[in-house]
Every structure is written in C-alpha cells, then in structure tokens.
C-alpha cells in the first residue's frame, strides 16, 4: 500500500469525524440511548435474582450495553454508505485512484473511532456506577474485543448496504435480524440458566454472544461462560471473515 492510499484512509477518516461532530443530535442520542438502558434496566432489575448470576444485575448488564452501543454505531457507519450512494458522493469516492481496500479501511477506522468513543463513555460511567474491573490485562483485552466488534459490525453494515438500494429494507433487517440476535446474546440474562436447550444452541450460533461474553469475561471476570481468550479467537476469526466479505461486496457494487 503506497502513500496515496494512506492519505486516502486519513481523509476518509477525517471526513467521518467532521460529519459526526457536526451532527449534534447523533452524538447525543447514541450516547444517551445506551445510558437509558444501563440505568433503567440496571436499576429496574437490580432487585431480581437470576439463578447462577454473581454480583449485582448492573455488573451483568454493563458489558452488554457497551457492546450494543458499539454495535449500533458501527453498523450505522457501514450502512451509511447508502446515504453516500443516494447523495451521489459515493461516486466521487469510487472514481478516485485509491484501492477499494483503503476506502473500506478508512470508513471502518472512522466508524470504529466513533463507536469506541461511545463505548468508552459508557464503560467509564459503568465503572463509576461500581462495575468492577478484573485487571489491567483484562481491561486491555476488553479494548481489543471492542475494536474487533466494531470492525465486524462495520463490515456487516457494508454487506447490508451493498445489497440494498434504499432504506426500507434497513428497518426490517434491524428488527428481523438484530433484535433476536440481541435477545439471544446473553446481554440481558444468563442464557445457560434460563433458556431451553435448543435456544441455547441458537445462542452459541450467535456472533454477538461471543462478543458480549468476551467483554464480560475480560472486563468483570464473572458470569462469563467461555474463557475470554476463546471468545477472542472466535471473534477474530469472525471479524476477518465479515470484513473480507464486506470488502468483497463493496468492491463489486456499482455506484
């Protein structure tokens, strides 16, 4: 990759930053919405007792909320290629003499920066609310998983965007795919205790499960089902596959 491509990655990233900071309402809602979840669900279920759950409910919930914030924000970045398609700006990007890969990387890094910024804010608030941290190593692992989650979600968004021409399909994808994935992800409750066997199996097929389990294991060190490093391995593999597919579909799509 030559210098031109690096400059392209930088300017694509820069564009995303500028757009994000100028869209005040987006900055606000993407931070406030997960906080709502954290506070309302966190305190609302705090008195409930889930069999097999250690510590308070908010400790269990926080990793999932962090993951959800990153997931939504990153997917939005991927899917927002559709906006560029409709405004025509995508053409300007696609005729430029830079590789498609650097366009995807630029967009992904831009989206990841924003998503991680949001993820951090929620993480800091969660820690302030008393969610424990296992160790510095655990915190670092959490960051790695957050980055990979973000990349994967941008890639997933890119795949959706290249298959759609308008926003109508987007709504149905959100409710038909994303919602079940979220509810089967162990985000809100421990799946091993509460779900019947076949739904548990579905949970294990759910990529989000490993993301949330990984963050839970590395950040708080309790209530996780798999070793966080095992989660990491699965997430990394998934990330490479989805990003590869996202780049491939983006490359194939016409403007």
């Amino acid at each position: 990759m030559n210098q031109k491509n690096f400059q392209a990655i930088y300017v694509l990233w820069l564009r995303q930053m500028k757009r994000f900071l100028r869209a005040k309402s987006r900055v606000l809602t993407t931070i406030v919405q997960p906080l709502f979840f954290l506070f309302i669900l966190g305190f609302g279920f705090n008195i409930a007792v889930f069999p097999g759950m250690q510590g308070s409910y908010i400790n269990f919930l926080a990793p999932g909320i962090i993951a959800m914030a990153i997931l939504f924000s990153s997917m939005f970045t991927g899917v927002s290629v559709l906006w560029d398609k409709q405004s025509g700006f995508l053409q300007e990007v696609l005729v430029a003499p830079v590789s498609r890969l650097s366009i995807v990387i630029g967009r992904t890094l831009g989206g990841a920066t924003i998503a991680l910024f949001q993820g951090f804010i929620i993480m800091i608030i969660a820690i302030a609310l008393g969610v424990p941290i296992t160790s510095t190593g655990g915190l670092l692992l959490t960051l790695v998983i957050m980055v990979l989650l973000s990349f994967t979600a941008v890639g997933f968004g890119l795949i959706i965007a290249s298959k759609m021409h308008d926003f109508e399909g987007f709504q149905s994808i959100m409710s038909l795919i994303l919602m079940p994935l979220l509810f089967l992800s162990s985000m809100f409750y421990p799946v091993t205790e509460s779900l019947p066997g076949w739904l548990q199996m579905l949970s294990y097929c759910n990529p989000l499960f490993y993301m949330i389990d990984g963050i839970r294991g590395s950040l708080t060190g309790v209530n996780n089902i798999l070793d966080p490093l095992v989660d990491l391995g699965i997430i990394l593999t998934l990330c490479i596959i989805i990003m590869g597919l996202g780049t491939y579909f983006f490359n194939k799509s016409e403007a």
């Binding site: 392209a8 930088y10 500028k18 869209a23 700006f89 053409q91 005729v95 430029a96 003499p97 403007a255």
Partner: protein
C-alpha cells in the same frame, strides 16, 4: 494516439438496453462532445468508462488500460464531473475540494494553490467556509466543476458541466476548459445539451440516440453533411410539398416537422424562386421561408429527429447565435 477506445460497449438494465454496442475512439488531446436527447445513454456510457458501472458486454480502454481488467490504472488517469450532484453537503466547499485533493494525492503546496485558484475561477472564494448544504444549486454546480478541475487527469469527463449556470460563469468555465486542453493536453469527453457549448468547445462530436451512435465527425463536417444551406419552409400542406420536392435532385436532405419542413441545399438563396414555382404547381402556399447556414441544432435535429429545446426547457436562449450568411423572411 487513441486515448479512449470502445468496442461494442453495451449496458442493459433489467432487459432494457441503455447503451447498445457502441464502438468509437477519441484521440489524445481532443475535445470530444457526446450529444443526445434525454435518456440516450450518455451518462451510462461515462459511468462505464469511469469504472462505476460494469458493462453488460463489450470492452473499452482508457489511456491503454482496460476498464474491466485494469480498473485501478484507469482511475489513475481520469477525472469526472458528474451530471448528478456528488458533494458531501455536510462539509464546507473548501473541505470538499480538500477531500478531493487528498484522495488524488496532491501535495500540500499544490493543494493550497489549486484550491485557491479554482475557488477564484468559480467565484466561491467568499463562500469557502460555508457548509455545502447552504449553497444554491448553481453554487453547488460551480463547486463540482472546480473539484473536477483540481487534479490534472489524462482524460477529463464532463457530464453536462454547465447545466443551470448563468451565462457569465459558463463563459469563464469554457475558457478554462479550453486552456486546460491546450496547456496540459488534457483530453476532454463532454456531454452537453447546449449546442453553443458544443460548437465552442468540441473538435469532434458523436450523436447518440437510443443507445446507438447515429453519427460521429468533426463539427464542420457534420454541418456540411446536411447541405451547405438549410431552408426552412412553412406552408399550407407539408406532406404534399415534401412529396413533390423529393423528386428534385438538387435537394440533398428533406426533413418534415409538425409545422415546417427543412431542406438541405447548395446556395440556398438562389433556390428560393424555384421552390416557390414548384409549390405553386402543386397548389401549396408558402407562408414563410428562412435560409441559413446549418448549425449544430440542425445537425442534431436531423440525426435524432428531435430538437434539444423540445426536450430541454432549461436551455438558456442567449448563446445560440446563428452564423447566418443570409437571412430572409417574409409573410404572405
């Protein structure tokens, strides 16, 4: 040397053929005009040549690179001003240009100089820090042209560059395009609905309709091809007169329209008495006559059967001066 070549280039959208086996070439340093009515396939052709659409069939090369197999090399050699807006409206004018400059790898020094020069050319210097979403339509268009001219590509595609611009700005942009073509030997591939623009800028012209190239030649040869002079007649019975005139060998082309008839002839002013005599023999009364040198409008109408103005009401009525050597008009 041919800088653009196409061979049977074809694009089909769900069974509808927008571009139909077109083959042509453009030489290095040429200003080539691509004219055609709405929906003729001009933009689709440009999109295929600029690697934004995959051809359904056929192939093309830009600067020797294949648009299918060497897409990255093709992009290295082109610049495009799109027909439809392609700006980021959440960025300012200057930021849009800066984005472009960086995507094309211009150094910081060149970038600053060019941004300033082009903002001056399109008269947007005082608006450079305003978000593009607050620009007027014409200002957006000007910004896009400025952006297209930022880097110096081997081939520059301009898809209706001056659509919706005022006469003064159009002139300035024409001059700049001419200069760019002369100074840097940039090949220009231009589509337009303005015949004066094509006349002023283009060395050669191709006329496309329904996805097929109807004719392709230099502007002068195209005008000559429909006769040295064009006579326009209004009369009481167009069909009858046309039928009779078709027997005359000195008329090279006859084209009937709803309310008038055009004839391509040599030394038109001398033929008028003869035409009146013929009309009288078939009992047709001529109500008006006009003789003039053929313009690109006539060429366009002849090859597409439609006038640009019939289908494009946005055209300004200022620039189409007809180089009439002789003009005569009377009413009975």
């Amino acid at each position: 040397m041919d800088i653009i070549t196409t061979e049977n280039l074809t694009k089909t959208f769900d069974g509808f053929t927008a571009v139909d086996h077109i083959s042509f070439s453009v030489k290095k340093g040429e200003v080539f005009g691509f004219l055609g009515p709405n929906g003729a396939g001009k933009t689709t052709t440009i999109k295929m040549l600029t690697t934004l659409l995959y051809p359904t069939q056929g192939s093309a090369t830009i600067a020797g690179f294949d648009i299918l197999k060497q897409r990255a090399d093709v992009r290295e050699n082109i610049g495009v001003v799109f027909q439809e807006p392609a700006l980021d409206t959440e960025l300012t004018g200057r930021e849009n240009l800066d984005f472009h400059a960086r995507m094309y790898g211009l150094s910081q020094e060149v970038r600053k100089k060019r941004v300033f020069k082009l903002l001056t050319l399109v008269d947007l210097l005082d608006k450079k820090d305003v978000l593009v979403k607050h620009y007027s339509g014409g200002m957006k268009r000007r910004l896009e042209i400025a952006r297209g001219l930022m880097h110096s590509p081997t081939v520059l595609f301009l898809d209706e560059p001056t659509l919706g611009l005022d006469a003064q700005t159009r002139r300035a942009i024409w001059e700049y395009i001419k200069q760019l073509n002369k100074d840097e030997n940039t090949t220009i591939f231009l589509t337009t609905h303005y015949m004066d623009e094509a006349d002023f800028l283009c060395d050669r012209i191709g006329i496309i309709d329904h996805g097929k190239i109807m004719v392709m030649n230099t502007v002068d040869m195209l005008k000559k091809s429909i006769g040295n002079d064009v006579i326009t007649l209004s009369c009481s019975d167009i069909q009858k007169l046309q039928k009779r005139l078709e027997q005359e060998s000195w008329i090279s082309k006859i084209t009937p329209y709803a309310s008038f008839l055009t004839l391509g002839v040599e030394r038109g002013e001398e033929k008028i008495p003869a035409i009146f005599d013929i009309a009288r023999t078939v009992n047709v009364t001529i109500s008006s006559v006009d003789v003039r040198r053929p313009t690109l409008d006539d060429v366009f109408i002849y090859y597409t059967g439609r006038s640009m103005r019939e289908q494009d009401h946005e055209a300004p009525h200022n620039g189409t001066k007809k180089p009439a050597r002789f003009r005569l008009r009377w009413q009975k």
